[in-house]
């Protein structure tokens, strides 16, 4: 079973030298801690920054300098500020190579729902709909089951959608999942997790042979 850092570390293997990457709030943010040494990756924050640096030293917080999660951050040499239209312009134009975001549900067709629980949670989609409609690679980081213990990998999403057939990979505490014409495909198992366990907790159609390797990190 993977913890949150394990999920982030697994997703960090998707990074490539020279990538421009947008990381969502929550587990996706942790991916920044696992960028391999020597690899140059630029983090895009959709509130208007390319080249996001780490949190500031205590006492050096700048209220004018935050990320999309409203956290105080810093710049790096080569960082750029821009307005929100240019920020989503570069997203829409497909310049962002990889988007990592959280989800409440993912369907076996790659649909994603992550912004609204009708009658309950009202937060809004923020930039998620723009990102999933346009990023070149979209990876979801999430827990495999919800608080009630029900699978979040479903035949069809039950919650209002964020985007259609856009997710290419899902990483949960149980494994790494891709997609084919039939549905989810188990690519790798989390250390110590058996295929039967994964099947039991996945409601969407899942192709799994049992020969899938355990996740390993470089």
């Amino acid at each position: 079973m993977l913890d949150k850092n394990g999920i982030a570390r697994t997703i960090a293997r998707e990074l490539r030298d020279g990538y421009y990457v947008n990381l969502g709030i929550g587990i996706p943010t942790l991916v920044a801690n696992f960028i391999p040494n020597g690899m140059e990756v630029q983090l895009q924050s959709e509130n208007g920054l390319l080249g996001m640096g780490p949190f500031p030293w205590e006492g050096e917080e700048d209220p004018d300098l935050i990320n999309a999660g409203k956290q105080t951050i810093t710049t790096l040499p080569g960082s750029v500020f821009f307005d929100s239209a240019m920020s989503f312009g570069m997203i829409r134009a497909g310049k962002v190579d990889l988007t990592v975001l959280g989800a409440m549900e993912v369907s076996q067709k790659g649909d994603i729902a992550n912004w609204k629980i009708p009658g309950k949670m009202v937060k809004g989609m923020g930039g998620a709909m723009d990102l999933v409609a346009s990023a070149r690679h979209i990876v979801v980081a999430m827990q495999h089951v919800n608080k009630a213990g029900e699978s979040k990998l479903l035949p069809q999403c039950t919650l209002p959608l964020t985007g259609l057939a856009c997710v290419q990979k899902v990483v949960t505490e149980l494994g790494v999942f891709g997609f084919d014409d039939h549905g989810f495909v188990l690519l790798e198992r989390a250390p110590g997790v058996g295929v039967e366990h994964i099947k039991t907790h996945t409601r969407g159609f899942l192709t799994a042979h049992g020969s899938e390797p355990e996740i390993s990190w470089p």
């Binding site: 050096e60 500020f81 307005d83």
Partner: protein, 258 residues
């Protein structure tokens, strides 16, 4: 005044709704404070407000709205502030009738008013929000975006396929006033923003029929490098200096020195 009545007093020909007659001099856009700059803002107005979270919000304009007690406002803003700061202050007073935003997760009062039906809310994708502002400032009636296709955001909207992708037609915003916060400005209305407090501010500044900018520093024309101005003053109708900015931080995240 007749349209086409050139050469009359001032430069007012052809302007039906005379924005600058409300200021004394077209090229001196300076007001003494937020209340005077917002003097003619009426109940039922549609407003744009810059800022992302609490970063780069027009704090003094919001305070003036609270003080004026202007009601039935439609507010276009990425977020709705927090319970006791930013747009949250207007929500507490029930001054907002309708909110158009992309993310409102930090405001419990907002959620309460929405679920109880007191507040009308339109949630739209953040890039769509930004680009509908951009379209207004660029004089374009609408734009196409793929964001929201296949979701409830697309309901009732015209779609069109370009290449192998489906796009939604989204119209430019039509807002009476834009209230923005800049770092520096001059009396001609030229504006410069700082760091990520830029966000929606320049876009909304360009999109408002009447744009009111509050700045931390008002400088003489010529003091801002023409190469570094983010919003040309032609888009800005009124400007004032805001003092004692609170600039509240929403999520203070730091590295410890120990």
């Amino acid at each position: 005044m007749n349209k086409g009545d050139r050469g009359g007093p001032g430069w007012t020909w052809g302007l039906e709704d005379d924005v600058f007659l409300r200021t004394t001099n077209r090229m001196n856009k300076v007001f003494k404070d937020a209340l005077s700059a917002l003097h003619d803002l009426q109940d039922g107005t549609t407003l744009m407000l810059g800022g992302f979270g609490l970063c780069g919000i027009p704090e003094h304009c919001i305070s003036a709205l609270v003080q004026k007690g202007t009601r039935n406002l439609t507010c276009i803003s990425n977020n709705a502030g927090v319970d006791d700061f930013g747009l949250g202050l207007l929500l507490q007073n029930h001054q907002i009738r309708k909110m158009i935003a992309s993310y409102v997760g930090e405001n419990a009062e907002f959620e309460r008013q929405l679920l109880s039906g007191e507040l009308e809310v339109e949630l739209i994708p953040q890039g769509t929000l930004a680009t509908r502002c951009l379209a207004a400032g660029y004089g374009m009636p609408a734009i196409y975006t793929p964001a929201g296709y296949g979701t409830e955001v697309a309901e009732g909207k015209e779609t069109r396929v370009f290449g192998n992708k489906t796009y939604l037609l989204e119209t430019a915003f039509d807002a009476d006033y834009a209230l923005v916060k800049a770092w520096k400005g001059d009396r001609l209305g030229n504006l410069v923003f700082r760091a990520t407090s830029r966000n929606f501010n320049p876009l909304m500044a360009m999109a408002g029929k009447i744009t009111i900018a509050e700045v931390e520093e008002l400088v003489e024309p010529g003091a801002l490098d023409p190469d570094h101005i983010h919003v040309p003053g032609i888009y800005v109708h009124r400007i004032f200096v805001g003092t004692n900015y609170e600039k509240r931080i929403e999520q203070r995240t730091v590295r410890s020195r120990s």
